[in-house]
């Protein structure tokens, strides 16, 4: 099979795909790097000039930058905690035999299929709106002052919305992990005198370790770039209370027309994402080894 000839043919045949992927990745990256060193404002087209590190200095010293950084980490961390803990418990529940299991499982997965903009708008207008929202009505019914979630606790509200979207994903992955657990191991633990809680802690959780790692890594990738939910609910406000890095870059480049500053922010975001990735792999990467 693997003769010299067939290997050469294989290389030739995968080269278009490799070139396409490389181009897709490298060209935007290089352009972003290039723009980040230019004074490039859309209001003054054709006046681009080399600006050195100015864009970076401005972006890093912007008081909104630190807020956005903290918000990004809080958003990612908060959603990860809620979805992994909630997903584990939900998966444990769904793994039990009960009547109507099939329907319930489909219902639980459903939020994952709702588009981020749509779900954020539904949450904003139908649940969290202090006048018309369900929560507002609930507060009224209890005789309490309605709580304006999106202006009084904007970041927490967005964490809630995003968690609602990602909980099904975590549940689904963890449910399949639960289903692959050898029942004889649980029975052996039962014979060994382990009560239900110990069985969960010593047998089920270690078995789930790899699945939880996968959930955390995949979700982190997507959560670092949350954008639509912020755009349609709070617009990053009040002030910078719910601005994350993605949203800050959007404001810089498209609301202030400063492509150079936005590109510098983008490069910084890439570096930060890599730092997060290195930390994550250090902490939980060993779970992926067989």
């Amino acid at each position: 099979m693997a003769t010299q000839h067939s290997r050469a043919a294989a290389r030739l045949m995968i080269s278009p795909a490799v070139l396409l992927l490389l181009g897709w990745m490298l060209i935007p990256l290089c352009m972003t790097l290039y723009f980040s060193f230019l004074r490039y404002n859309l209001l003054m087209p054709g006046m681009e000039e080399f600006a050195g590190w100015t864009n970076y200095r401005f972006f890093l010293t912007d008081p909104a930058f630190m807020d956005a950084l903290v918000n990004t980490l809080l958003l990612v961390g908060g959603v990860l905690v809620i979805t992994t803990v909630g997903g584990t418990l939900l998966a444990l529940l769904l793994d039990q035999p009960f009547w109507g299991q099939g329907i319930v499982r489909i219902l639980v997965i459903a939020p994952f299929f709702v588009m981020p903009t749509v779900s954020a708008l539904v949450w904003k207008n139908m649940f969290m709106n202090p006048v018309n929202g369900l929560f507002g009505h609930l507060f009224h019914w209890l005789g309490l002052q309605p709580y304006d979630f999106l202006s009084q606790a904007p970041l927490m509200s967005i964490i809630g919305i995003v968690s609602w979207q990602w909980l099904p994903f975590a549940t689904l992955i963890l449910l399949t992990a639960f289903q692959s657990l050898d029942q004889e191991q649980l029975e052996a633990a039962e014979m060994d005198g382990a009560p239900a809680l110990s069985r969960f802690w010593y047998i089920m959780l270690p078995h789930l370790a790899r699945a939880i790692t996968v959930v955390i890594l995949i979700q982190t990738i997507f959560l670092l770039s949350i954008f639509a939910e912020i755009l349609v609910t709070t617009n990053g406000g009040p002030g910078t209370a719910s601005t994350n890095l993605t949203y800050l870059i959007y404001m810089q480049s498209l609301l202030q027309f400063d492509v150079g500053g936005g590109s510098a922010g983008g490069v910084i975001a890439i570096i930060l994402a890599n730092i997060v990735a290195i930390f994550l792999m250090r902490m939980i990467g060993k779970n992926l080894d067989a």
Binding site: E184, E187, A188, E190, D192, G193, Y202
Partner: protein, 334 residues
């Protein structure tokens, strides 16, 4: 102490009745083997005793106290599973320590028992490995070690050797028997392999469709099978069961003759037939003999390994009258 008594125990899964009312007495220190074809309910019976399944009705008593409603861990029984059911993320040491950790035994006592078990089972060098790094036989020993350290009233084995290759199976069989002689703890062992049952058991329980067909020592079952099923199941190769005219001439509806109880001659004998397949084992040869007027099934006959016959040869057979088993029309021993 490990005296286990089952009284009118039944088990149904929904409409399906797996175990009809069943009584069984297992004495302290006995090595009891449940044997039967697959699907006969032997594993279910073991799981009922272990407490992993609830009985539908009836009582299970361990050492005179009613254990029917007790949780598995409180019955003082240890089980070795077919898949070993080791905890893959724990080292061998932690696997063995797990039941003691759950029982909150003091650390030094745990260590003492782990060392003793590891020494007895040749696991001392492997204590810090994970189950995934061990061979099948070693995993089996870890599973046994995990059972031993609990110092249970009785051990339950659920087809523990069926995942091992043939050579290892014989070795582990001896090790388990050795263990039983040393610990003198009650052991209940489930298998579908009648050779395992014959070699290991003090008492064999032959099951078919949840019914106990016969209980007795291996030699009792070999010499005096209570019915045709037991006669056909115990012994290797199978007993020859012959119906029809020949059986009637011996005063029974069915007669059973074991392959080792038939004499072979090339010159004379009451039965004659044509040699079919011959299986040479070296010491013995099993010849399948096709004969006329005694049913379609060929008779299996054991001869000395030196005895040579060719396919198609005509030979004469002489059954040993004194070792012939006679069964009536209901299949029961006459």
């Amino acid at each position: 102490m490990g005296r286990i008594t089952l009284e009118k125990v039944t088990k149904s899964f929904g409409e399906v009745n797996v175990i009809p009312p069943l009584d069984l007495e297992i004495d302290d220190g006995e090595f009891v083997v449940f044997v039967g074809p697959s699907g006969c309910g032997k594993s279910t019976l073991l799981r009922l005793i272990a407490g992993l399944e609830d009985v539908t009705s009836g009582d299970i008593a361990i050492d005179g106290t009613n254990a029917t409603e007790l949780a598995p861990a409180q019955r003082g029984l240890a089980m070795v599973f077919q898949s070993y059911a080791l905890y893959p993320h724990m080292s061998v040491r932690k696997n063995i320590a797990f039941p003691m950790k759950m029982a909150k035994l003091p650390e030094d006592e745990q260590k003492r028992r782990i060392d003793a078990a590891a020494k007895a089972l040749n696991l001392t060098d492997y204590l810090d490995r994970r189950p995934g790094q061990l061979s099948g036989g070693q995993r089996q020993r870890v599973a046994i070690g995990r059972a031993i350290v609990r110092e249970p009233q009785a051990f339950l084995f659920d087809e523990p050797l069926s995942n091992l290759d043939a050579a290892l199976r014989v070795g582990m069989r001896l090790e388990i028997m050795e263990l039983h002689k040393r610990l003198t703890t009650t052991m209940i062992y489930v298998t579908h392999d009648q050779v395992e049952a014959m070699t290991m058991a003090d008492k064999i329980v032959v099951l078919r469709a949840g019914h106990i067909e016969q209980v007795g020592s291996p030699l009792d079952l070999y010499h005096a099978p209570r019915n045709e099923f037991v006669a056909g199941f115990i012994g290797s190769p199978k007993m020859n069961l012959i119906k029809g005219e020949v059986a009637r001439s011996h005063g029974a509806a069915t007669i059973g003759v074991r392959p080792e109880h038939i004499g072979v001659s090339t010159t004379e004998g009451p039965w004659q037939g044509v040699v079919g397949v011959a299986e040479h084992l070296g010491s013995d040869t099993f010849i399948h003999v096709h004969q006329h007027g005694m049913g379609d099934e060929p008779l299996t006959v054991r001869v000395d390994g030196e005895f040579t016959v060719k396919h198609g040869d005509r030979i004469f057979l002489t059954p040993d009258e004194t070792k012939m088993h006679r069964f009536d029309t209901n299949g029961l021993r006459a």
